[in-house]
Symmetry: C2
Subunit: 156 residues, 2 copies
DNA sequence: GGCAAGGTTGAGCACCGTGCTCAACGCCGG
DNA sequence: CCGGCGTTGAGCACGGTGCTCAACCTTGCC
């Protein structure tokens, strides 16, 4: 079912290893023809498996060194407006809807703890937000990666 | 204090809007000289504000359509081995160390709910893991973005 | 007021990667 | 046995890159 086969996985692995690698370079290191890599990359992009390259901007460099996770319980009657309100807060950089006692998980950045408190109040002020629970992220133990999944796919 | 000024923010915004934009194109749309954009991008990259372009691979296309969040309490005596063990599980795609009653938050993908159960047991089997609480992500309400922060920085 | 420094700008340069097309080859399934 | 599909090598025009240089304008300082 996975639309990516062994060769695709190897290409994606090599690309993850060196995001700036050129199609020509990939073909060389993988022992494939340039056209093959080109065609497969095009298929991966069109199938949606490979998203547009996202330029990662470090929030810390923008003056927001603090990262926190805010679990939210929201009123079930007006979820759309509530989620929109939360997503509209600039410091909220990601929102996930989840099962469980919390309904939303928001990833929030802040300039410092005082600023985090301010943002927390902003979130609580959004209509429909019932409760919120904030934890501070101390360390990114494992940065987001799909490499192990790709390695498994590469072995077939 | 932020090492990025108004012009930097505008460049990063344009780059976020079109990740495949060329230096030449950016210079055109922003009304800057090619050399200027070039120099600032180099500084941003060297300062670490702009990370290497990460090719986003959709886990769903790899056969892992399910995303879950696992909150973990771990024994404080052997945190290093425990976190390493958790990070070593292929389905674990991200791990954050947090304050609060849970010590770790793991982002986990799975093929289906049965598979998620299996992965949950894998996590629990890691020495040092005391408790775990799993919630399933129903929807990405707001995909990760720093655009609002950049817009604020762009206005100065 | 004048001076030095840093950022910006325009120009020019050689190099290389891109996206594409074409034709030929090999493999697998019908 | 034959048709289709993916791979491969070749070739081609185009354009972006990274770099250097010199000139300019601002900013801050003496």
């Amino acid at each position: 079912m996975p639309s990516v086969d062994t060769t695709d996985a190897r290409i994606l692995l090599a690309l993850d290893d060196d995001p700036d690698a050129t199609v020509l370079g990939l073909a060389g290191t993988l022992g494939l023809a340039r056209n093959t890599v080109h065609a497969r990359l095009r298929r991966l992009r069109e199938s949606g498996a490979l998203g547009a390259p996202s330029r990662r901007v470090d929030p810390a460099a923008l003056g927001y060194p603090l990262l926190a996770l805010v679990t939210l319980s929201i009123s079930q009657s007006q979820t759309a407006e509530t989620t929109a309100g939360i997503a509209g807060i600039p410091e909220v950089v990601e929102v996930l809807a989840t099962t469980g006692d919390g309904d939303l998980l928001a990833r929030v950045v802040a300039r410092d703890t005082r600023d985090l408190h301010r943002v927390g109040n902003l979130v609580l002020a959004v209509p429909g937000v019932l409760r919120s629970s904030t934890v501070i992220v101390l360390e990114e133990v494992l940065p987001a990666t799909v490499v192990p999944l790709l390695q498994r796919a590469a072995r077939g």
